[in-house]
Symmetry: C2
């Protein structure tokens, strides 16, 4: 009987991976994941069998992984945490669909999530309640996404946006911005981190009024401050509420 | 000139800590943190100087750390990620208050956040948009917390609750439950993970109607499913939206 492990590899640098994730990869026979992420952990993979697939082939990728895990030790990797827009859900859904006696052993390992990695690069923007929203409307109705944006804005959540923009999807972020400006000051700090912890990492701190003029792509994570968030010397900080008399 | 590093140590097991966090602790001269978390990383600390403080002494703890970092290498630890209800914000606020030429070097290192660790133990409950809310009303007005709960419920976010309950604070969670029941089915899955990745880790999967009868304490993280979340064989799963025909 084989085993399937789904693991987050963290934001992209081996230094930001957990011991448990590393061990799972090293002990596996087959590594499955999106090409770009496979590259990030090449040093760990060595001569293992690799099943790399292109973006948007999640179902195919998972099916292969599940099939092979009947007999082999397979690890499926996601960047960041495997449980946040990653592969953990899909793998579990497929495994639970199998007759119980045919199922491989299954394990889910978490990792440093992209939102946390981006936050640490910006300073401390997530110190108060926050909402995590993906702007990809491939699998989610756009009206539901916009409803979530509005609700989060009204209740003064810090808002973290995954998949803010892609080549084909450039209007969504503008609609989000327009909507947020109804509820939040135009000078609200907005942080953009692209390629967090990777060689080409960039960090931009802008405002709600101007952030859409900056470079944003599918490797960017956008964090929009709440009404208390401020910027000081290139750090973006959301106060937790301690009475410090510090500002 | 000294250095101050704020780092998340992950959920509590050295296996779930990143290489970068470990290195920061090993290279420091002084380790500052809440006693319970210091204990979790004792193996790394060895004969370093330890400043352990009790819960709720965050300001005092940070002030000591900042003061000592003028000359020494100090690391301030938080469980999970230091940027989510952790010490990153407070340290940065204090450092930025100092005259620029007196400031130590400062670094923020992220870790596996408690919400991600809890999710991996439950299965994959965070696969869709989610809101993170602390129920502690020490620093936040209770009306704002309840407004956030209601907004998140209305927009069908998965909801993760930090600080759900303490000895002195046992009514808040009941009010949250009552409110959520206005918007969500009473059979909505609710996962409770206590002491994630620690020796005494427990996992309970219950429902919105019944979860407040379970053991919940200050080391618990509660995850309330959205309208699509389901439970199968003790796994809690929120589908991402792939058309799998799998259930």
């Amino acid at each position: 009987m084989g085993k399937i492990t789904v693991t987050g590899i963290g934001p992209g640098n081996l230094q930001e991976m957990t011991e448990r994730a590393k061990k799972a990869i090293e002990e596996s026979e087959i590594v499955v994941g999106y090409h770009t992420y496979i590259k990030l952990i090449e040093a760990l993979i060595k001569d293992k069998k690799i099943i790399g697939t292109a973006m948007k082939q999640e179902i195919e990728r998972c099916q292969k992984a599940v099939e092979m895990s009947r007999e082999k030790k397979v690890v499926v990797i996601s960047s960041g945490d495997s449980g946040v827009y990653g592969m953990a859900g899909l793998v579990l859904e497929m495994i639970l669909k199998m007759p119980e006696k045919e199922r491989p052993e299954v394990e889910v390992i978490s990792g440093v999530s992209a939102v946390n990695a981006a936050a640490s690069i910006l300073g401390a923007p997530l110190m108060h309640d926050f909402a995590v929203i993906s702007l990809s409307d491939l699998l989610t109705d756009w009206n539901l996404i916009m409803k979530r944006i509005e609700s989060a804005a009204q209740a003064d959540f810090v808002i973290a946006l995954y998949n803010p923009k892609s080549h084909k999807r450039i209007e969504n972020i503008l609609e989000v911005q327009k909507n947020l400006l109804k509820y939040r000051d135009k000078n609200t700090p907005v942080g953009i981190v692209t390629g967090a912890s990777r060689e080409n990492e960039t960090k931009i701190i802008s405002t709600l009024e101007n952030f859409t003029n900056e470079e944003i792509n599918m490797f960017s994570l956008v964090i929009i401050g709440n009404s208390q968030t401020y910027v000081k010397e290139n750090f973006m900080i959301t106060p937790r509420g301690y009475n410090l008399n510090l500002r």
